[in-house]
């Protein structure tokens, strides 16, 4: 692996670390930062510095070094991580991001403006630390990248059982190390500690894994442990050693591969790429290496139940260490090919059926089953958790609440809900707009809130969950809510609704999605940029999604966004109407029942409940009704049900969604098209639109016939 080949890995890794850094910083604004948070921050900075050093990216090393130094002081309790410092650190994180972006663009030397910006930030950092500690503070240290990377030794030590009785204190050795270098990171190894009953309080069971920065030679470090020379196991790994040297040292001291990776990651001694490299030789040997706790014959570990009896201490390797980075374009082309494959297989199926050759039919059936599995699997590859997107909003909330002087808490739930990568990418902007809107217009000023008897700090909630083949994302705030009357007045003013129209509450609220509709009295710098809710709605509709709004004046607003899980391939249910075939997304179908109707009306009774339906035949004008028995397909969307009257039910088929041409995009009730095995085109029905239309029509005709549905029920 040459340096240039590894660079993309570095860039991706740095991006991840920076994201984590941002996340932790924002967490620290919500709760009092604990040691764990500070350590995580430090580790991120440390790792970025280390790996940029490997690539000779001096500009990054020099900058991050200062950030790391400040974090180190925080860790030692010499500086406190207050909101001011967090603000500066967030900016530093952005700056590092720009530096890394420069490297990615092939310009490792930052532009003068960027450099100047960096210096300003360093001053802010330095100034901060001064104010807090009063201690003399070395000004921006010029760091030689290679030297910085080389100084970091790894010390692995396990103490013998009797060192305590001999008057030695392991912690004392740490203090001594501190006199000629600095312990950048440390992991206490207490795997050997036995259960309560066997624990002998005067025996020593612990050891340390230490990342130690010093300019002293190896002898000096070894000398530290002279007093316990014969009563400890000491492994010292020189700076910039081969990856295997680290693993060998740790294994020699009784750590299995899983723990090795865990410890080395925590210490920041090796980058992710290196960790993987270190594991590789172990994988060529059987897995035993990872499961055997300690090789027999160790002076310390022998016969101690502590080594095996603590499942909690050996955590499974994090998923990310086993993952592979794949170019998104490759995935997309895979999905496209699978789409073609499905269409081709459908044709093959059809031909097989026509040929009447049993054997051939069986073959095509099993091929189809396999294709379905491949399809499932490859779509799964593109599924990502929405948590990463949600976390991005922490920064938005943090920055905006500072700008507006409102105190706002962000609550996130359902982060593990998965959806297609392309959907995630395209939903971020509309969601950002909704969150900004909630902060800007939703949450009231603190005084108003207190007057209304609400806590001064506003809350914004993000929630996500799956519901019948769609993902639902909710953005809610506990702010002032929508003013129903004002919306109605404005809508009438603009001629959007007739003055005497009888609108339901939901319909009134949904008026805010009309183009150019804004009820805020003051256009603020944040959300008054002319990009309104109509754009949000348009973006979501373009994803075959749907958005609605609920609100109670004075109590808050909830915007609900519904999106299909994937944009590429769905499980479809084909129905025949006249000569045409239509496809319904299988997830939206509740059941199919025999056609029946209350004479003269467009609804039926489904187990005692009124079910409005629409005749697809008359809706699409597909010729004369066939004489055969008709069926009703019951579909559900957003808690409402409707029936679709069709001539025949053709069954379940995998459906590759092809977008409609431009001229058809305005078509109501049709969301796409698909090519059938026969080569014919089938239209995919837009269930949400159909349900909404049917329910609305039923409601519109209801007042005149109010008594009829009741008659059906009784």
């Amino acid at each position: 692996v040459t340096v240039d080949e590894a660079l993309p890995t570095f860039i991706a890794e740095a991006a991840e670390l920076l994201r984590e850094m941002e996340l932790v910083l924002l967490e620290c604004t919500d709760v009092t930062p604990d040691a764990d948070n500070v350590n995580r921050l430090f580790r991120c900075a440390h790792t970025i510095k280390g790996s940029s050093g490997l690539f000779g990216l001096d500009a990054i090393v020099a900058f991050v070094h200062n950030v790391e130094a400040v974090l180190d002081r925080v860790r030692l309790g010499q500086a406190s991580l207050d909101s001011k410092l967090i603000g500066v650190l967030l900016k530093c994180k952005d700056h590092i991001e720009s530096l890394v972006a420069g490297v990615a663009a092939g310009e490792p030397d930052p532009a003068p403006t960027l450099r100047a910006q960096g210096e300003l930030l360093l001053q802010a950092l330095g100034g901060d630390a001064h104010g807090l500690t009063g201690a003399p503070q070395p000004t921006a240290l010029p760091v030689n990248s290679t030297a910085a990377a080389q100084q970091c030794w790894h010390i692995s030590v396990r103490f013998g059982r009797d060192v305590l009785v001999a008057g030695m204190d392991p912690i004392g050795f740490l203090r001594y190390l501190g006199s000629f270098g600095s312990i950048t990171e440390l992991v206490l190894i207490d795997d050997a500690l036995p259960g309560v009953a066997e624990f002998e309080p005067e025996k020593c069971y612990i050891g340390f894994e230490i990342a130690f920065t010093t300019d002293a030679p190896r002898e000096r470090i070894e000398g530290t442990f002279d007093f316990v020379r014969d009563d400890c196991r000491l492994q010292i790994v020189a700076p910039a050693s081969a990856v295997t040297a680290y693993f060998e040292a740790l294994r020699a001291n009784g750590l299995d591969d899983v723990r090795c990776v865990e410890v080395l990651r925590k210490l920041g001694s090796l980058s992710e790429a290196q960790l993987e490299l270190g594991l590789r030789p172990a994988e060529t040997q059987p897995v035993r290496a990872a499961t055997t706790p300690v090789s027999v014959g160790h002076p310390i570990a022998v016969g101690l139940p502590g080594n095996v009896a603590q499942p909690g201490s050996v955590s499974p390797p994090k998923a990310d260490s086993r993952s592979v980075r794949v170019d998104a374009a490759k995935l997309d082309s895979l999905i496209t090919h699978i789409g073609e494959l499905i269409t081709a297989a459908a044709t093959a199926n059809l031909v097989a059926k026509r040929s009447g050759n049993r054997e051939l039919e069986e073959c095509t059936a099993s091929v189809s089953a396999l294709i379905e599995q491949v399809r499932e699997g490859s779509l799964q590859l593109r599924m990502v958790k929405i948590g990463a997107t949600f976390n991005r909003f922490r920064r938005v909330v943090h920055d905006l609440s500072a700008e507006l002087g409102k105190e706002i808490e962000l609550l996130v739930s359902g982060e593990d809900t998965e959806l297609d990568k392309t959907v995630v990418e395209r939903i971020t902007d509309p969601l950002t707009h909704l969150v900004r809107n909630a902060i800007d217009h939703g949450i009231e000023a603190a005084e108003t809130r207190t007057q209304r008897g609400k806590p001064a700090a506003g809350t914004i909630k993000l929630n996500a969950f799956h519901e019948s083949g769609t993902i639902v994302i909710e953005v809610s705030d506990d702010g002032g809510g929508l003013k129903r009357d004002r919306i109605l007045t404005k809508a009438i003013e603009r001629g959007l609704v007739a003055p005497n129209a009888a609108l339901s509450e939901a319909e009134i609220f949904n008026l805010v999605f009309e183009p150019g509709f804004s009820t805020a009295e003051v256009v603020t710098n944040l959300s008054g940029r002319g990009v309104g809710m109509d754009v949000v709605k348009r973006n979501i509709t373009a994803l075959r999604g749907d958005v609605s709004i609920r609100s109670a004046e004075g109590a808050g607003t909830t915007v609900t966004v519904r999106l299909p899980l994937t944009l590429a391939i769905i499980n479809g249910f084909q129905v025949g109407v006249g000569q045409s075939i239509f496809v319904l997304p299988l997830e939206s179908i509740e059941e199919c029942v025999e056609f029946s109707a209350t004479p003269g009306h467009d609804f039926t009774s489904l187990r005692g409940e009124v079910l409005p339906f629409v005749r697809l035949q008359s809706l699409f004008g597909t010729g004369s009704p066939s004489a055969s028995r008709q069926s009703i397909v019951v579909v559900r969307n957003a808690g409402q049900r409707a029936g679709l009257v069709v001539d025949s039910l053709l069954g379940e088929f995998q459906t590759v969604i092809k977008p409609l041409g431009k001229i058809f995009q305005k078509l109501d009730c049709v969301s796409g098209s698909s090519i059938l095995g026969t080569g014919e085109v089938a239209l995919i029905l837009d269930v949400p639109a159909l349900v909404a239309q049917t329910v609305q029509r039923a409601r519109a005709s209801a007042p005149a016939e109010a008594s009829v549905p009741l008659a059906v029920l009784s």
Binding site: T32, D34, A35, D36, N39, L76, G77, S80, L164, V165, D169, P170, I171, G172, L174, R175, G178, I183, E185, L186, V187, L188, D190, L193, G195, V196, F199, P201, E202, C204, Y205, I206, F208, Q310
Partner: protein
Amino acid sequence: MELEIESLPNGVRLHGEMTVYSAATLKPALLESTPGCGGLMQVDLTGVTEFDSAGMQLLLMLKRHPNVSCVRITAASQAVISALTLCRLQHLVEPLTAVETAS
């Protein structure tokens, strides 16, 4: 200062040395206080004058006690904090800042 062990409703308060010299006495005393703690063992170490690896091992042992799901050091002296910080175990002391001002 002499060793003193004070039982609290859901934990224990220690005074004096928490080192290898007192460890043998402390182990049974600490174990005695575990049944009443209801899983969350609260330990007050404000009065601890000396603290070494043996003292730290006692805390680690408590953490593994079947009756204890969480050990929380409600307050601690500088000696304890500096040792725990060296071993990166500050998270046992919560909240960190409050303790530092206390000591």
